[in-house]
Symmetry: C2
Subunit: 279 residues, 2 copies
């Protein structure tokens, strides 16, 4: 298959590495308007060539749109305008706005909305990793609106990355990712801001940051461009979860104010239940 | 040196392993009233023998009190009542209540208040790890209230564990640990509660929990006994930080409600600064 990847960041670049390695892609063209990213992608042989959008579209069987949600929503209809039989996929962690942007498009069947649930706190082509997707889940969203051939081809592609495929409707997907991914990022970013605000002596943060803090705050290193776009475009779901999160924090607050040890213990015991699910 | 360890959990047990390995301890006695923990500690040769408190005190040069803050506050004065020249240390992550409990004790100089900043989300003697303390920081608290010989001996012991020693006054310590450790645990526990509350379909949590969620929620696996004691005994400091944390979360909330992308981006960019400090 001839593959084009628009956006040579962590996700786009890592997909390219694995599709080349496993032989799925016979050629990989890249589209990238950040010249530094272009340079790194070529140096690391992430793509064969960096070309214009037109050249990419005309020389591909599959076009992977791997850019932020905002840019995805803008580019996706333009891409579908240009394709004949090519398949286009996106990889955003929010889906309603993306799917809405092409819901009435005559080429809607050529588009498969996917969300490979993998990543790190790093971004850009320097952060690409072989095997990033192995044993992770990819969500196919509103699969029934895509053509069967397109879905089958993309399923084969993700199975080649050793991913497990699940299906969801768009609203279900955006709500679930708000719960298990978007709120984690918010929680981590607010934690970083709290500590930075209060700890004027930066040396102390470093000295006292044992493993616990470092892992909890890791996601605060995430790309602001990508996450602004996610928070804006999934704000209604995220706001519901954020309210619940503040409510849970307030339970701890009220219990501490009342020195209510048994209530605190019961909150912690309940939170421990996450252990059984993740193990 | 003859060492006794009261409480054979993650911290006490891991100290024992390394003091034996590096030759600092010629003998290690354990005191443990959980019979299952006693059995594991003996099987794993964490201690030579499990004995009564009296036997431990009478056959030791150093007594390490490695129990929860509540139990530390109760046992520490009793221990100092019994010692002659023995040195007693605690390893709690809160210090005011601990230091207050012996501030007027005639043997105050025999006590060194220490906080080795290391740990995992696991607890008990099954969780012990060799090298847990390597390259980590240990805080000596209110060092001037301990005898010089006692401080020097305990400093030598922690250097043997390859720890870096820093000093703080008690109020400073309890405030800083609230910022960089206690709030991380709260944030993680509340996150677990949020997701458990909202995601009735447990399978979805597992399916959608990519690496981000798992690391952010890791601390929610922590021992409720230990953390209830910390939250109760450092509540005034933790409440200040928790208010700030909720304030930072509210900034995200307000910005999302207003669809204010530039405000969200600036919040995330600010949170990214944690990167420079931790790297």
């Amino acid at each position: 298959m001839r593959v084009s990847i628009i956006g040579l960041g962590l996700i786009g670049g890592s997909i390219a590495l694995d599709l080349r390695r496993n032989g799925f892609a016979s050629s990989i063209l890249g589209v990238e308007n950040n010249s530094e990213h272009e340079k790194i992608a070529l140096e690391r042989k992430i793509v064969d060539e960096v070309v214009s959008m037109e050249v990419a579209v005309n020389n591909s069987d599959i076009i992977i749109l791997a850019v932020s949600a905002d840019v995805t929503v803008k580019l996706l209809p333009q891409l579908l305008d240009k394709v004949n039989n090519q398949i286009v996929i996106d990889v955003c962690s929010i889906k309603r706005k993306v799917c809405d942007s092409v819901s009435a498009h005559p080429k809607r069947q050529n588009f498969v909305a996917t969300h490979p649930m993998a990543g790190t706190e790093n971004s850009g082509p320097k952060a690409v990793l072989e095997g990033l997707f192995e044993n992770k889940v990819v969500v196919f969203v509103d699969k029934s609106k895509s053509g069967k051939m397109a879905v089958d081809t993309i399923a084969k592609m993700f199975k080649g990355l050793k991913m497990r495929i699940i299906s969801m409707e768009v609203e279900e997907h955006d709500m679930h990712t708000a719960y298990v991914s978007h709120i984690s990022h918010l929680s981590s970013m607010a934690l970083a801001l709290t500590v930075l605000e209060k700890e004027e002596n930066k040396k102390n943060i470093f000295d006292l940051a044992s493993g616990g803090f470092e892992s909890t705050v890791r996601l605060a290193k995430s790309s602001s461009e990508m996450w602004t776009s996610i928070f804006i475009n999934n704000s209604d779901n995220i706001l519901v979860v954020l309210d619940e999160y503040i409510r849970q924090l307030s339970k701890f607050k009220i219990s501490m104010e009342a020195s209510d040890a048994s209530k605190i213990e019961s909150l912690i015991n309940n939170s421990n239940k996450i252990n059984k699910i993740l193990k």
